[in-house]
């Protein structure tokens, strides 16, 4: 035995890390897929990262049930309360900053600096939307000066349960940029994460679970959009669908999903791009209210005036 080998054996062994099991996020809990399936997630160089749960049709249905159950409470919460909860998401994400940087870097093949900028932008996006909760009704609603003795007021309301295809490429910033404008107004959602880059979404769900977002408000399903999206598009208890993540999703024809969505007159937010093509937006651009408006209803209330 050589002296070198002796010294090596004497040094403390590097700690064997405890790896995370990446699961779905439904109704505030972390179940595995009811189908028992998982799939291999690799980094951009093809190295193994983890086995992610592969959500099924039934998982999607469970998630819709959870989202529907959560809707009255979330929509009925005060705007101030929703704003604080969404701001809290940013706080909790900030505390896991390095973890998000590692995962985004691995998922998207970014340099550490770019990954840091991306995570920072994702956190700041929550802050931006958190500040909107108690301003939307003033900015988008108002008194209608009708020609008669009536008080007549219009205000935005959430449309209900929204299904969303999260962007395939931008695993965290794109995901947050899709989810935040849905929930800011009181909608609840079922989100199919990026198929190939699902791990930052799972970590986001852990941040959500510890930041006062009520269970069921945001449900995250890892898996393949091509498998799950048709069931969400045709689901009768889903009020709207965001097809942003159709861009670059294997086997997804967004027009087919829009056809299915017509069965119960879902509100459809089409993917970016022209014609039938779908292009993932540039998520670094400061958002506007377009995505928020896509999932709002205007309610108008009349009442007579009189002595």
């Amino acid at each position: 035995m050589s002296p070198t080998a002796t010294r090596k054996a004497a040094a403390p062994a590097p700690r064997l890390d405890v790896r995370k099991t990446y699961k779905l996020y439904i109704g505030g809990a972390f179940p595995r897929s009811e189908s028992g399936r998982s799939y291999v997630v690799s980094d951009t160089k093809g190295r193994f990262l983890a086995n992610a749960s592969q959500a099924s049709r039934k998982d999607a249905r469970d998630a819709v049930v959870a989202a529907r159950a959560a809707f009255p409470g979330w929509a009925g919460a005060t705007a101030y309360n929703r704003g604080q909860v969404l701001y809290r998401v940013a706080e909790v994400m900030e505390g896991r900053f390095d973890q998000f940087v590692d995962e985004v870097s691995a998922a998207e093949g970014l340099t550490a600096a770019r990954a840091r900028a991306t995570v920072a932008a994702a956190i700041d996006r929550w802050v931006w939307y958190a500040g909107w909760t108690d301003k939307l009704a003033q900015v988008l609603g108002g008194l209608n000066p009708v020609a008669g003795p009536y008080f007549d007021i219009s205000a935005p309301e959430p449309t209900g349960v929204v299904a969303a295809l999260a962007p395939q490429s931008s695993s965290l910033l794109g995901l947050v940029s899709v989810v935040a404008p849905i929930v800011v107004s009181g909608n609840t959602c079922v989100v199919v994460t990026s198929g190939a880059r699902p791990l930052p979404a799972v970590t986001l769900s852990e941040a959500l679970a510890t930041s006062d977002v009520p269970g069921g408000v945001i449900n995250l399903l890892t898996g393949q959009a091509a498998e799950i999206a048709p069931w969400l598009a045709s689901h009768r208890d889903v009020n709207a669908i965001d097809l942003t993540g159709a861009a670059g999703a294997d086997g997804v024809v967004w027009g087919d999903l829009e056809v299915a969505a017509a069965d119960n007159v879902k509100r459809v937010l089409r993917p970016g791009g022209n014609g039938a093509t779908a292009v993932e937006p540039d998520w670094t651009i400061t958002p506007d209210l377009r995505r928020v408006r896509a999932f709002l209803e205007t309610k108008t209330v009349w009442h007579p005036k009189g002595r």
Binding site: V139, K299, V301, W302
Partner: protein, 486 residues
Amino acid sequence: MPRFEYAPAPESRSVVDIRSSYGLFIGGEFVESSGDASFKTISPATEEVLADITEATADDVDRAVRSARQAYRGVWGRMSGADRGKYLFRIARIMQERAREFAVLETLDNGKPIKESRDVDIPLAAAHFFYHAGWADKLEYAGLAPAGGRPPRPIGVVGQVIPWNFPLLMLSWKIAPALACGNTVVLKPAETTPLTALLFAEVCQQADLPPGVVNIVTGAGDTGRALVEHPGVDKIAFTGSTEVGKAIARTIAGTRVRATLELGGKAANIVFDDAPVDQAVEGIVNGIFFNQGHVCCAGSRLLVQEPVHDEVIRKLKRRLTTIRVGDPLDKNTDLGAINSAAQLDRIRELSGIAEAEGAVRWSPPCELPSRGFWFPPTVFTGVAQTHRIAQEEVFGPVLSVLTFRTPQEAVAKANNTPYGLSAGVWTDKGSRILWMADQLRAGVVWANTFNKFDPTSPFGGFKESGYGREGGRHGLEGYVTTGDDQ
């Protein structure tokens, strides 16, 4: 006490001059179809043939879309907002000047009472043009574009398909905002009620509206389909049945064509035990018998709190015995003719099913004319949520009565429908009105009133009642493109 009968008080027909046949309004003039198909429009009150109407072919629709495109690329697209507005003001004024003519024509073609076309449809239609005229040069103030972004821009050529229940009013809801925002339009009126749209074409001529800005193609489902499927149309605006609305949504799926859909409804009209009952009864009558119940937002489901059920029904029935059914042109008529034989069949069918399912049917004694399409005001009591009469849109003068005990139950029953267009609440308690308004999943909530409309007030539904709003600042949203929208 003796009961005094009303003397007949018919509005004169002499104010209208109906031509024996009408062409299509394309490129600013009436033109002949590429085909030779036509159909008759009749008075539903008498079945008298009023005129021969051209059935536009797909080629005709193509010609109309091209004409609209040319106007959009040319004169209308280049025109200042201020000048667009002035054209709309002109149109509003001409509609007011010719209001009586429009009212009589509407009543003849549609069957609705003259007091409604004269006092509601036509004045509101003119008001819609007047209101939107002012927006044409103020769109950047409408809060539609992102802060610091480009001002809102028109979408292009809009295809518009409207129903027969408020022919001119629906035309104005469609055309006024479209033009104010700088779009050009091809509009298809309903096949049973084309006449006021064709008279509106004359208004466009009198206003010297540039050719091609408004095109009107008459026809039935095939013409509408040709318009919706036309690749040169950038946006579809539709008011009509949920079934057709879904078909339109499927047609444009996977394209960049946009749509606003104003579809069916099954509104609950909710009466609490503290409501002023006489007022509520008037509201119930207005809610379901206005325009023969041919109203997408009609209060067709009466939800009465149990303690006042008997009193409300007794007073409602007494009130209904005074409803005057008959000649729509008579100024004292409350309930006119059903718009078509097909609609009458539908109302009869659903009413028959309601009886078969166990609901109790009641109508006041009333004599219906022997010619034309008529249905008496009808009330079904003892209706259950599961009855088809409580779930499906009847689109006729038929009221279903259900009961509830608690506000929560009223909300659950009111929302238990795929629709979500409108709702009514009758109570003296202010906090309850506001709580109910929050809970009801409907686009319009009328509290202690019903069936009120105004150009400044956004109208449109939740859920399967459609998407998009018409009227007000919100109604402009469907006719502009902003920010990074394509």
